[in-house]
């Protein structure tokens, strides 16, 4: 049995009185990439937001490093080491690239950590040289791919043990998608556990160690990516036949 980074037990989440996910139970082993694929509106984003704490109306359990974080605030969850890259980037559009990156370190930002933060910023620029070139630019003016890189960079600044990625390929040119997925693989190889949510099933299964299929807010299928790729239903619905 591999060490688990995160698991959910019978997780339900609600928008008002509408239930968006039902009895979702997933396991994310430490140091692995787990992908969740599903169509638009299947509840993928809701699941991520329930884990990161953005959605508070939920029942069931979210267990992270053997600790129940179901009812914790987003602030505390970030400090514990879960960092989310939200859907549609959600940058601080009027702030510069560098300010966006710095704010990523907000949860441990103080004078004492200055050199730690600077090292991390340098690391981020190493990962994404283009962001260093654009560091004084207002982030709202970046291209879609650059914005996605910045969103990942910002999340990485929080020193996460686990990163939640919501549709990183959305609205991005195919060539750049490949680049982004390379970064995800690199992040994972440097020790970060990844929970990835994607409509782009092919790309998501390629990088995953394990995967779940979400439909109508429920887990309908799970397995190794290889198994899912061979599954006739997955082939038909998510991989385009």
């Amino acid at each position: 049995m591999m060490a688990l980074m995160l698991r959910t037990e019978g997780l339900n989440a609600f928008y008002g009185n509408i239930r968006a996910i039902t009895d979702v139970t997933i396991r994310v082993p430490k140091g692995k990439v787990v992908s969740i694929i599903g169509a638009n509106g299947a509840g993928k984003s809701t699941l991520l937001k329930s884990i990161s704490g953005l959605i508070q109306r939920k029942n069931g359990h979210v267990i992270y490093k053997d600790r129940d974080i179901t009812n914790m605030s987003v602030n505390r969850i970030v400090k514990l080491g879960i960092s989310q890259v939200p859907e549609g980037r959600q940058l601080f559009a009027h702030l510069t690239v560098e300010d966006n990156i710095r704010l990523g370190a907000y949860s441990y930002y103080n004078r004492r950590n200055r050199s730690v933060i600077q090292d991390r910023i340098d690391g981020v620029y190493g990962m994404f040289p283009i962001l260093e070139k654009r560091c004084k630019q207002v982030s709202g003016t970046l291209s879609g791919g650059e914005q996605q890189m910045l969103a990942i960079a910002r999340a990485f600044m929080a020193r996460p043990d686990m990163i939640l990625l919501d549709e990183p390929s959305m609205g991005i040119a195919p060539l750049v998608v490949r680049e982004i997925f390379n970064v995800i693989v690199n992040l994972n190889q440097s020790g970060t556990t990844v929970l990835l949510v994607e409509q782009n099933a092919k790309a998501a299964l390629k990088v995953a160690h394990y995967a779940y299929v979400l439909e109508g807010g429920r887990v309908v299928l799970e397995g190794l990516p290889k198994e899912l790729l061979d599954n006739p239903k997955v082939k038909e619905v998510y991989l385009g036949g």
């Binding site: 953005l54 602030n75 970030v78 960092s83 009027h94 704010l103 907000y106 929080a158």
Partner: protein
């Protein structure tokens, strides 16, 4: 009687206008601080100014506390009231829309005004000028020493706030809340705390404005409403959310008022301020320094 030249007279109006305009600019800055973090227009902003003036009178004139200590106590006291406004009127509203919150601030302004009337009565109060009342004559214009304090404080407030918002992580975090509250939460920013801080800051700036204007124009319990209207005019004129805009808007409004009062009739000065406000809303709703693109995505 000594003949005053037209140029000297105009210069006098200009000086008076800049002084009054500096106060409008400070009220406008107060509006912008809260707007930039929350999208709320805080209509109790004028009440912070009024409280600043009257609390200073209480401490300095009634209690005879030395001016610097009284100044600090007043700013701290009004800042505390700003925090209370957030805690008691803004935060308890569940699932707030921006409009609901704005209406709540209007209610707050009524409550504060009523309480001030109860406590201080309806008479205006005076405060000794910081450096006496011996005017300086300069190119035919009479300048009260207090005018320098007003302009000086505006400059200090602007510099301090610019450093805070552009250089410190807390200032940047406040701006981040306005840009994207959910993303701000995801990097660990406590959005409620930032909203509270914005109310505290703008109450503090309001208090400073109230303290420095009282020696010039006195202060009474119901001054806040008109100051809020003028400050709001300055905000709209300069562009919602823009600090340089607030200063330019405030000064332009002050100078127009002063010129109208001097050249036409002092009875029309408030009317002219409002006419200017309407013209801006008709012809350039985004304001002088406002960005059309940004103003499109703004909710107000």
């Amino acid at each position: 009687m000594e003949q005053i030249s037209i140029a000297g007279q105009l210069f006098q109006y200009l000086i008076t206008g800049i002084t009054v305009g500096s106060i409008y600019a400070m009220v406008a800055i107060g509006f912008n601080i809260i707007y930039d973090v929350t999208d709320i227009i805080n209509f109790a902003q004028g009440e912070f100014v009024m409280l600043g003036g009257l609390t200073m009178v209480l401490f300095h004139v009634s209690f005879q506390i030395p001016i610097i200590i009284a100044f600090i106590l007043t700013v701290m006291g009004v800042t505390l009231i700003g925090i209370l406004v957030d805690r008691l009127a803004i935060r308890p509203i569940r699932q707030p829309s921006v409009l609901t919150l704005i209406i709540a601030t209007i209610a707050v302004s009524f409550v504060i005004r009523g309480a001030a009337m109860f406590f201080w009565g309806k008479n205006p109060f005076d405060l000794p000028a910081f450096s006496g009342r011996n005017p300086i004559t300069f190119y035919g214009a009479v300048i009260q020493p207090q005018y320098f304090w007003v302009v000086g404080f505006l400059i200090v407030v602007v510099i301090v706030l610019s450093i805070f918002f552009d250089k410190t992580i807390t200032g940047k975090a406040m701006k981040a809340c306005a840009d994207n509250a959910d993303a701000a939460r995801l990097v660990g920013i406590n959005v409620n705390q930032m909203i509270m801080l914005s109310f505290a800051l703008s109450a503090g700036v309001g208090a400073v404005a109230g303290i420095i204007i009282t020696p010039i124009s006195l202060m009474e319990y119901d001054r806040g409403a008109m100051l809020a209207v003028k400050g709001f005019g300055a905000v709209i004129l300069g562009g919602l959310g823009s600090f340089p805009g607030a200063i330019i808007g405030g000064l332009i409004l002050g100078i127009i008022e002063s010129l109208v009062a001097g050249l036409i009739s002092s009875g029309y000065k408030d009317a002219f301020a409002l006419v200017v406000l309407l013209c801006v809303l008709f012809f350039k709703p985004s304001g002088i320094l406002g960005n059309i693109e940004i103003s499109k995505i703004k909710r107000f």
